[in-house]
């Protein structure tokens, strides 16, 4: 079963279009939603949360089809935004007092445990909290009603490396319960290198791929070699290519094909998600 199913979702804005995107978020795993800024990650996440109404397409969450008039499924979702969405003139305790009664599974002890672990001062106003504290508070609120699906929109942006690592450990704990699922949107792909099981990559409003992270890393390959090896046909083999005075570095999405083309004449390297994202986003031929 899939925690989220997105089928042929499109959404047009003045200067941007999400085109016919389809993918699934498998139940019980961490799925990373990656792409450069403006790729469409937040539009997808907001569509799942019912905040954005797609022009076309269908979305199911935890087995239920959703539309703008359904909201009961959000009882099962913990949502963490990249920005503060709470009333910042309230204290953390006052904000909790507003949020908690909306969830029938609210666990006050768990909430207090997270407040304690994160060392959050309940009487402090949200606007006086640092970015890290606000994110921690969002996490505490999101996890305290035992959600089956945790949706995070760029949660690690602007956080220090220590807390980023702590957050990833927290996610690893949460996902130990096989009924739980995480959808994690980010452009900081190093976070996903550590924890993601599946990766969905969107670029310029279009889906590039959505599959198991290991399969992606097995399929893509970086090739480094001399410029004399390049001609028009060879260049077309690469998703993205970077040429320097002495050589080239290119990303191929077909490992077997480039190995058969170049044999032992070049160096090969398994790309990181960041490199896949970089070359795909930049595309074409870049001269350095």
């Amino acid at each position: 079963m899939n925690a989220v199913e997105i089928r042929n979702v499109s959404k047009s804005y003045k200067n941007y279009k999400l085109s016919n995107v389809s993918f699934q978020v498998p139940n019980g795993y961490i799925t990373g939603l990656i792409g450069p800024n403006g790729a469409g990650k937040s539009t997808i996440i907001k569509s799942i949360m019912g905040m954005v109404i797609p022009d076309q397409g269908d979305i199911s969450v935890l087995g239920q089809p959703i539309d703008s008039e359904r909201a009961d499924y959000k009882e099962q979702i913990g949502y963490i935004s990249d920005e503060n969405i709470y009333y910042d003139y309230l204290t953390l305790a006052e904000m909790k007092k507003i949020v908690a009664p909306f969830y029938s599974n609210w666990d006050e002890d768990l909430y207090l445990k997270y407040m304690d672990i994160f060392e959050l001062p309940a009487r402090k106003k949200i606007k006086e909290c640092s970015k890290g504290m606000k994110t921690k508070f969002s996490i505490a609120l999101a996890l305290s009603h035992h959600p089956k699906l945790l949706i995070m929109d760029e949660p690690t942006a602007g956080l220090d490396p220590v807390f980023r690592r702590e957050l990833l450990e927290l996610l690893a704990d949460y996902i130990l319960d096989e009924r739980n699922t995480i959808l994690f949107s980010t452009h900081l792909t190093t976070d996903l290198d550590r924890v993601a099981d599946y990766v969905t990559f969107v670029n310029r409003g279009q889906l590039v791929f959505s599959e198991a992270k290991d399969e992606v890393l097995d399929r893509y390959l970086i090739v480094k070699g001399g410029r004399e090896l390049l001609d028009g046909d060879i260049r077309k083999e690469f998703v993205g290519l970077r040429e320097t005075g002495v050589g080239f570095e290119g990303l191929s999405r077909d490992r077997d094909r480039v190995v058969s083309l170049f044999g032992n004449d070049v160096m090969y390297q398994t790309p990181t998600l960041e490199e896949i994202m970089y070359y795909t986003a930049k595309g074409g031929i870049k001269h350095v």
Binding site: M51, K74, F102
Partner: protein
């Protein structure tokens, strides 16, 4: 508690920070300054209407509401419920403060029912106009809408004072006073139709809006 009650509770909690403003405003424009001051009767309910609706004016606040397990039409309905009940409370509160001021100054404690009812009716009718406009213009145009609203109420205040003192209006008011059942049905019916229409329009707008 139902979702509507929880959202109304949220609106009350958010209003707490404006409590001092409401108290100061009520005292300044109560009968201690001028008896039966229309700025108290008309403006206090409007002030509360603006404050309640604007609690969720920021795009981030709308996003927060979007994360809650509450249907959009309930979010809209709760705004009407919060604003409507506070309008009524503010109208009655204005009347009570004015009575106390009269008692303090003249020793005569008179509750001006007609003004209180009038302010509540005009407030509810105004709410029926304001909330759909708010949803239509959206958070970005909300500030502009509020400025227009304040100007409208201030100008309207003068106009209402003028209208109330004309001979024809006095005759109509007398009729309302002498026919409480008929006037109650007419006013009540008009308010219900206006608010229902307004709610349907607001829901239709908000259901299609990206937040």
């Amino acid at each position: 508690m139902s979702s509507i009650s929880l959202l109304m509770r949220k609106d009350l909690l958010l209003l707490k920070r404006y409590l001092w403003l409401i108290v100061i405003y009520t005292i300044i424009f109560s009968g201690f300054v001028q008896k039966d001051n229309l700025l108290l009767y008309n403006f206090l309910p409007m002030l509360l209407l603006i404050l309640v609706v604007n609690n969720d004016m920021q795009p981030s606040s709308q996003q927060f509401l979007g994360t809650l397990p509450v249907r959009r039409k309930i979010l809209v309905l709760s705004k009407y419920a919060s604003a409507g009940s506070l309008l009524i409370i503010a109208g009655i509160l204005g009347g009570l403060v004015n009575s106390l001021a009269r008692y303090y100054l003249d020793g005569n404690m008179y509750f001006h029912t007609l003004l209180v009812v009038g302010s509540i009716i005009s407030g509810l009718l105004f709410m029926a106009l304001y909330i759909p406009l708010f949803y239509w213009i959206g958070p970005k145009g909300g500030q502009f809408l509020n400025i227009v609203l304040i100007l409208f109420v201030m100008m309207g205040n003068g106009i209402v004072t003028g209208i109330l003192s004309t001979e024809q209006t006095i005759i109509i008011m007398d009729w309302f006073n002498n026919h409480p059942v008929e006037s109650g049905v007419i006013c009540g019916g008009a308010i219900i139709v206006a608010i229902l229409t307004s709610y349907v329009i607001s829901t239709a707008i908000f259901k299609k809006r990206d937040i």
